[in-house]
Point group: D2
Chain length 143, copies 4
């Protein structure tokens, strides 16, 4: 595992109230890649018993943000600019897992792909795939 911006990645996971509320947990983090996990409960479902799109989107986005943040320079943060997600299969199971991988890290824009898997521990299937563009900014800069 090479050097990476560990402080910023930890802050992204530990200081986001919506992520704590949802129950999303980091599993592993290295430069340009982040994995996360979510133990599913009834409150994560939509009206037909499937995992709500919003849960998958939040996980895909936030894990992508952590992957992008891992490659940011000290003092820089990343903010989602553009997000697109395809739902490939209905999501049912006991938990979700997400793998986010940086496709291109740029000085102002970073593009990350996130895959979301759902099922039981021994039988996880790809249920959605997202592409996330992150704006790389310095907190005092004007956006």
């Amino acid at each position: 595992m090479g050097s990476f911006n560990k402080d910023e990645v930890e802050r992204v996971f530990s200081s986001a109230p919506f992520i704590a509320d949802l129950g999303l947990e980091p599993v592993s983090i290295e430069s340009g890649e982040c994995r996360s996990r979510l133990v599913l409960a009834n409150r994560h479902l939509q009206q037909d018993g499937f995992v709500h799109f919003g849960v998958q989107a939040t996980m895909a986005d936030h894990t992508a943000g952590a992957a992008g943040a891992s490659m940011a320079k000290p003092g820089q943060i990343v903010l989602t600019s553009d997000f697109s997600l395809k739902l490939l299969r209905s999501a049912k199971g006991t938990h979700l897992e997400c793998i986010a991988t940086v496709l291109k890290a740029g000085s102002s824009l970073t593009v990350v792909e996130s895959e979301v898997y759902c099922g039981t521990v021994d039988d996880m299937r790809l249920v959605s795939k997202a592409t996330v563009t992150l704006a790389v900014v310095s907190p005092r800069s004007d956006s």
Copy 2:
């Protein structure tokens, strides 16, 4: 206000646990258009104090689903197939509002646009815009 599938739209809002958990409320519903509202709390924020992308995405998606469901035939449901969202401005304020409008209602796919506004009651600004493709299915059909 013309005739529309009121039962299905009400079910979409009242029977989705993640939506109740988030606090999303319908404001008005008619054929092909749905408006919703969310009173913001600290738990809806990300690590820099802005409204989390996932909150906006959930609202944009679910309100689009209700707008699409309003035009579904009896017995049909809609499921998100594809979702893309642009974040236009950082979102800060006391509440969010969303307006979802059907762009094209088809027999198998319906396309909806959702605009998300954030701010205070007297000063709301467009913060994100989504395009949502919904698959129109009969619950017993094979997807």
Copy 3:
């Protein structure tokens, strides 16, 4: 019609070989909005006799670029960063028209929506809608 970067918009249309080759023509340009037109020929079609996606995408993108360029500062150019398009109906007819409108002009990113219409002069229908994110750069800057 307010002041706008007329020189840059004219260059966008007159100096792009692929646009001349395709036959795309500007119809009207003002600050934040551009309209264009294309007279259809057999060479614009795909294998089933409909207008090829690539023709619609090129038109939606280039017209969006001109709309974005109209709001650029002197010396700045815009480059497509992200493009998404929904095909709403099969496109058949004698010509295409496109209206591109700036949704948000930023210092580094500009978001534009493009609507593409197809049909005959008296009967044009919306066939596709695109959202285009443009990076606003200075030609000597490093991207």
Copy 4:
């Protein structure tokens, strides 16, 4: 190489006038994957000397369509429904190559990813990546 719908894939490449006009050629086709190539000329460029977005989009879309068609049942055709593309780097070089891979083949929707590379024969770089949703239809069906 397994069995696949070779007739439909060949038709997709040989019977599309816009593809012949552009100069796009198939390189290899198997079930669920298609590769194509384009020798670049001045007419493929935009106003700043880069390969026009529309050329890359056409290539990404059409190669995705061929990959999707390779998995279609006899009598079925695929039509682009949704297309999104990220431009990762400015494209300059002597030719383009595209690899399209089916991510999920469904009975009504197929999702394909396309990677576009640009450069010289010995030095090709990934310049854009697209996700394409194809509607799988029978030509006589109502869309």
